[in-house]
Amino acid sequence: MPDQDENVNEPQPGSRLGRALGGLRKEAVFIPSAVDESVLRQAGSRLAQIRAQRSRRQRAQWMAVAAGIVLAAVVAQTVLHRSGGKQFEREDLNHDARVDILDAFQLAREIKNGTAHAKTGDFNGDGRVDAADVEILARRAVSLEKGGPS
């Protein structure tokens, strides 16, 4: 039954449409090679464009990932620097990457020579650079809480 229903809309062999269709030429359509080549060229060009776009998109994605990693590293460095490193660096007056008695000694010599600056040598925040600031550095140098000599 379903076959009969489907055949209802199909042209019947004896109908006019069926005859007209049967009379159509059955030979292959001739397409000139120049057209073929042109179509292939355009298709190739379009495919190359698509590949290039995909490549650019991928490159942009990788660059975004790399930029994210660099940004995260910079943020982490800044946070670490602010949390502990900054104070350490400030007390490291002789810039040898450690806070020890030589930093207190340097500040004491600067005070003695009159070359001490409140910007770098005022550790107790009283607006002056004096023996009290030297004392703070020296106490920090011998503190056992930092795990021995730094």
């Binding site: 008695i101 030589l102 207190a104 010599r109 011998v142 503190s143 056992l144 021995g148």
Partner: protein, 145 residues
């Protein structure tokens, strides 16, 4: 009678051992720094008792005028077995010790008969310009008088 003697000997031995176990001695360890001919203006070192029941009970300064004052140290080191000491002098180079000099003395309390074993590590030494110099730190336990 024999039984009494044996009992008395056991008690005496236990008493002697207990006394030896709790015996407290006070010792002094002298700390020296030898700057090898260069003017010693600053030093920092760490002293530690590696074995034995040792507690640091006092720290005093050295023999040279430049280091006569007691060095800097963390007050928390008292009653402990480890201390970091440091000192400096802003005197001119001519007034600073150039040879081996006693920079500090550390007083310790030793409990028991075990002889303490000490360790000393020089962290840094510098001349009058703040320049680091090679120096040697040593210690000697002062003989009891």
């Amino acid at each position: 009678m024999k039984r009494w003697i044996v009992t008395w000997m056991i008690f005496w031995t236990a008493f002697v051992f207990a006394r030896a176990e709790d015996a407290v001695h006070f010792k002094t360890v002298d700390i020296f720094v030898d700057a090898g001919g260069k003017p010693l203006a600053a030093y920092q070192l760490e002293f530690q008792a590696k074995s034995g029941k040792v507690k640091i009970v006092g720290i005093e300064g050295g023999e040279d005028a430049a280091f006569k004052e007691p060095p800097y140290y963390d007050a928390k080191a008292m009653q402990q077995e480890r201390v970091v000491i440091a000192a400096f002098s802003t005197e001119e180079a001519t007034k600073l010790p150039k040879e081996k000099t006693r920079v500090a003395s550390i007083h310790v309390q030793v409990t028991g008969e075990q002889e303490p074993d000490y360790a000393l590590a020089l962290a840094v030494a510098a001349d009058s310009t703040g320049k680091k110099i090679g120096a040697e730190a040593t210690f000697v336990e002062r003989k009891e008088q």
